[in-house]
């Protein structure tokens, strides 16, 4: 989106890696950014703010909506100027390129193509509700077209019929009504629309209230106000309000991860501050996060998932990570795509699963991380929303990457050394090859659900030498279930361990052949989660739900939550029995599917 060279004033000449000085990091950053950007955008002369200002009364708001309908007297051409600042917004240092400051790569050059065809369950590919409502969705979505990162339909705006019919919009705007991000369409062309959203929020606010949700037919408009930042989702998907609100929280978190909350100060200084340049080039991060809202259970479970590995293998990885953690690294995380291989935190430091999700999304969606080692400022919103940490990121192979987080801005070379040590040990102990094998083999499959309780030493990973020989009857059962899931019509399950903050989901087996079916199941779980976790009346204990697509069973205890999907004709009694067996199975193989002994997450 922007060139990197125009932006050398601050960081160039620091060939020894980035140096920010010894001042508190976050202050240094916000000042640095605010100084340049706020000035640039003050004279923006945009109609959005003007329109928003005039909307204090009842007529104002109606009039404005009218304008939007009419196709845009209020539409402004804001922010055409500050392109040179954009690079600064997302600073990346490449250690091997003379301290060059680099902006985000353009969306089209992302490495996502490499992910296609991966066998991992719930992988990052999937259909989107990119479709327009009326389009016969089976024609479009069963085509299994891989999801492409980055922004699409930039040519649209709120006057376009196609834009209006998109199934799920996300907007970020400032409290003065300036657009910051829109999932579809060009932010600048959406200034008038953005002002309308702002007018709705502030109108209700002026009445001493706060708008949360507007419902109209199949559509929901969900609002989230975070200080000077307003987030809005307009959706006609079936997701419940609580889920959409949770997604807005994550989008806000993603923004904080990139900028820290100190961006609020920009708005204190100048309410009309234009934030778009600060987020320049990060479209791909947001679009990838939004995409994960339709396939990644971590987005609503608030838990992370691990790559299945033999206990000893994970221990070996943990041990070497622990070594570096003792040497001043705050968090050391080894991940394969969105699954954790191992993670270690310095004493008393704990990592919230949402932070991990946002961090992993940030790293995986940014092409530049893949090409070389990187040292980048990031903020973990649940850890400390005001401060930057520094993330050293390095891909050990195509899918496996190491993240070392520190508070120190000049730790680059130390972390580079740490990485070298870790990489050597991981290679020597075959961890990396085990990781790759696990990705190929996948995790738990409902067809493999043991009929009889296993001995405690049960293993999910027969190849590791601890294999349990399948009995004849199990073999034949397995064949019998082929194509129809597991016993008693079990199709899929998710088990979330509350005290570990981790979940495990079974692999998708037939009949979940298409992404469309997988997404529908994901949405059904999401709805179930919202239904079970009502904030007002407290969590329910059990739920059985049958509709035309599934039988869903949910069981919430103090220790775990189980979500299981069955054939809609499944028998209740045997479904319950099967759930009990799934819980037992998970306990039997917990050594391999969970990261045990990590510091408990105390959030």
């Amino acid at each position: 989106m922007s060139s990197s060279d125009g932006d050398d004033s601050t960081f160039s000449g620091t060939d020894s890696g980035p140096v920010l000085g010894s001042k508190p990091i976050e202050d240094g950053f916000s000042q640095l950014r605010v100084g340049d950007l706020a000035n640039g955008s003050a004279n923006d002369g945009d109609a959005a703010a003007a329109a928003a200002e005039g909307s204090g009364d009842g007529e104002g708001i109606a009039a404005e909506a009218g304008e939007v309908e009419d196709g845009g007297a209020a539409r402004a051409r804001a922010g055409e100027t500050e392109i040179e600042e954009i690079g600064e917004a997302r600073v990346m240092w490449r250690s091997n390129s003379e301290g060059e400051v680099e902006a985000q790569a353009s969306p089209s050059s992302s490495g996502y193509a490499g992910e296609r065809g991966s066998s991992s369950g719930g992988s990052g590919i999937g259909e989107e509700e990119d479709e327009i409502e009326e389009v016969r969705s089976d024609a479009v979505s069963d085509s299994q077209a891989a999801w492409m990162p980055g922004k699409r339909h930039v040519d649209e705006d709120d006057a376009s019929i196609s834009w209006r019919k998109r199934k799920k919009h996300f907007f970020i705007l400032s409290h003065s009504g300036k657009p910051i991000y829109s999932r579809y369409g060009d932010e600048h062309k959406l200034a008038g629309f953005s002002a309308t959203l702002q007018a709705i929020i502030s109108f209700v606010e002026n009445g001493g209230d706060r708008v949360k949700l507007v419902r109209a037919g199949k559509h929901q408009v969900v609002f989230l106000v975070k200080g000077p930042i307003y987030l809005v989702c307009i959706s006609c998907t079936e997701e419940p309000y609580e889920s959409l609100r949770g997604q807005l929280e994550l989008i806000y978190g993603q923004m904080i991860l990139i900028l820290t909350k100190s961006v609020n100060r920009c708005f204190e200084k100048n309410p009309k501050f234009d934030m778009t340049p600060l987020l320049g080039g990060t479209d791909v991060v947001f679009s990838s996060l939004i995409h994960s809202f339709s396939w990644n259970p971590a987005t609503f479970l608030h838990a992370y998932t691990c790559l299945p590995l033999a206990y000893a293998t994970r221990q070996a990885a943990g041990a070497v990570l622990q070594d570096v953690a003792d040497s001043g690294v705050l968090f050391a995380i080894l991940m394969c795509k969105h699954k954790v291989v191992s993670l270690v935190g310095a004493q008393k430091a704990s990592l919230h699963p949402d932070d991990m999700l946002l961090l992993a999304n940030f790293v995986m969606s940014s092409e530049s991380f893949r090409t070389s080692e990187n040292f980048s400022p990031i903020c973990l919103p649940r850890y400390n929303p005001m401060a930057f940490l520094y993330a050293y990121v390095h891909y050990l192979d195509v899918e496996t990457y190491l993240m070392l987080l520190t508070t120190s801005s000049d730790a680059f070379y130390h972390l580079k050394d740490c990485r070298t040590r870790i990489e050597t040990v991981l290679l020597k102990s075959n961890v990396l090859s085990e990781v790759q094998r696990s990705m190929l083999d996948g995790g738990m499959r409902v067809e493999d659900l043991p009929i009889d309780p296993l001995p405690r030493s049960g293993s999910l990973l027969p190849r590791l030498g601890q294999s349990r020989p399948l009995t004849d009857s199990q073999e034949s059962l397995k064949e019998a279930y082929a194509g129809i899931g597991g016993p008693a019509g079990l199709w899929h399950f998710i088990y979330r361990s509350i005290y570990l903050d981790q979940y495990v989901a079974s692999e998708f087996s037939p009949p979940f052949n298409t992404l469309r079916q997988q997404k529908r199941l994901y949405r059904a779980y999401q709805k179930m989660y919202a239904s079970m976790h009502d904030k007002g009346i407290g969590a329910h204990k059990t739920q059985f739900r049958r509709d035309e697509h599934y039988v869903l069973l949910c069981w919430v205890t103090q220790d775990f939550e189980l979500y299981a999907a069955f054939d809609p004709l499944a028998d209740k009694a045997s479904a319950i029995k099967t759930c009990n067996r799934v819980c037992q199975w998970v306990k039997d193989v917990e050594n391999e599917i969970f990261l045990l002994g990590a510091s408990p997450f105390s959030w």
């Binding site: 204090g56 009364d57 009842g58 007529e59 104002g60 708001i61 109606a62 404005e64 909506a65 009218g66 939007v68 309908e69 709120d158 209006r164 019919k165 309308t196 007018a199 709705i200 109108f203 209700v204 002026n206 009445g207 001493g208 209230d209 706060r210 708008v211 949360k212 949700l213 507007v214 419902r215 109209a216 037919g217 199949k218 559509h219 408009v221 307009i234 006609c236 079936e238 419940p240 309000y241 239904s531 079970m532 009502d534 007002g536 009346i537 407290g538 969590a539 329910h540 204990k541 059990t542 739920q543 059985f544 739900r545 049958r546 509709d547 035309e548 209740k572 009694a573 319950i576």
Partner: protein, 512 residues
Amino acid sequence: MGLSSVASNSEGMQLCIFDLRRGQNEGQELDKILFFHPADLPFSTQLSVIGLSEGLITFTRIFSPDAACEVIEAERHSHVFFEAEPDIWMVVIVEKNKEAEAIWRVDALRKVLKEVHSLFLMFHGSIRSLLEKEPAAGSVRSQLYIFIMDYLSDFHSSKKLQLPSFRDSLKERGTVQMLTVGREAAIEVQSLVRVVESCTGSPSCHSLLLFQDLLVSTTLSPDDTINLFTYTVLRLTPHALSTGLSSWSYLRKGSTASAAVTGPPVGSGTSLSEPFHGSHGTSAGDDHSHAMRPLQHNRWSKGKDGFLITDIWQAEPGSLVSVTPSIWLQQTEEKMYLCAYQHKSLTLIFLIPVSSIINGEQGILAVKQLVLENASLKILKVEEKLSKGWGGENAYHVSGYRYLLVDGDRNLSRASPPGKVTTLTKDSLLALSKLREEVDIEKSRTRWDNGGHEKDLEICTRARNNAWVISQVTRGKELYMVLENANETLLYASDAVQKFSNRYCNGAFSLD
């Protein structure tokens, strides 16, 4: 500005009706407002409420042209929308307050709006048609004001306006409750209905028969049945007539309701009418005195001949001569005379087309006479038979269950008696209200997604307090149930549903 004063209002509720086709020029915005409660709110506040509503109706149509704004959920208030007639919107704003038990189900509130509008239609015809007759809208406003205030007076309990809350989750407004009648009694009822309708001498005559507050038979269309049933239960059944008397003394002591009922006090009357009428030169006071008040309490009583009489309908505005009531049928848009006859617990209502009676009151009197002569014996017999079979107010109690059964196709519902529902804990009722909200959303989605196709759904939840809260929707029928003393297994709970379904619902909710 604006909405904060909602909160300070002691009732915490606002209700307004506005017409989007009116007041489109600047400075004339007040013209949009057809009704606003509380009427003494400053106009700026009223306008801001309507401005927000109108703004969101316009805004949501960008994305959802076929279904504009239905609800705004804010932190402290819910705004529930209902488009009563094209471009004529009703909005109710309720304050949320957990301590004060102000926890609402949107659909239940919308049904209140729908009900008052349907009743208004039945007595006055559509708001749009009234506006077309009288563009200045002075008397429309008066009619709406008095009608709605009379309607709302039914929600006053201990001086507070209490709209349906989570505690009413085992009720369904806008449905009819029926008496279960044995075969023999059914034949008697049939024959009674035939005799009554033949007495009227008109083929398009209709009748409605109630025992206590329960429907026994109807020959009206479903919508008209609901409206007339609702009105009968509100004002005409023996139960309604007797509570009307007791509330009369209460009203006379000067509660909020009586202020509305005894004609507008200077303050609210002028604030309601002045800005609209001043420019049109109509006197506000006159309009109020002319407005017909079919929902006013204590205006019906039982005459010596068994027919119910009222002075609500007058030969001409202001005259002392009262005439036979008449209503509009929704389906045929036909105007009908309404005659109600009561014998003990039995209320018989028959409707005669106004067009079929040539000589007015004389003609009606003749029909009534004919009915007395030909049907009174049958009425006695039917009443006797139904009384014998009647199990009392707990007739439909099923021990161990608290339930609501709704037949959406026939607009029927049956529920545990209110006295039994009150034994449920607050937690159970909250969980049920929440579950109903979830089902409401599913149902409405299905409606938008695939028109006629109905949703099949079964949800069985064990709440935190260990109560089972259950909902089943199948083939247009809905069952809601709370089992508080059930065993803890899911199988036990679904077994209980199964038994209930087999015994009381002809197996409608059984699996096989």
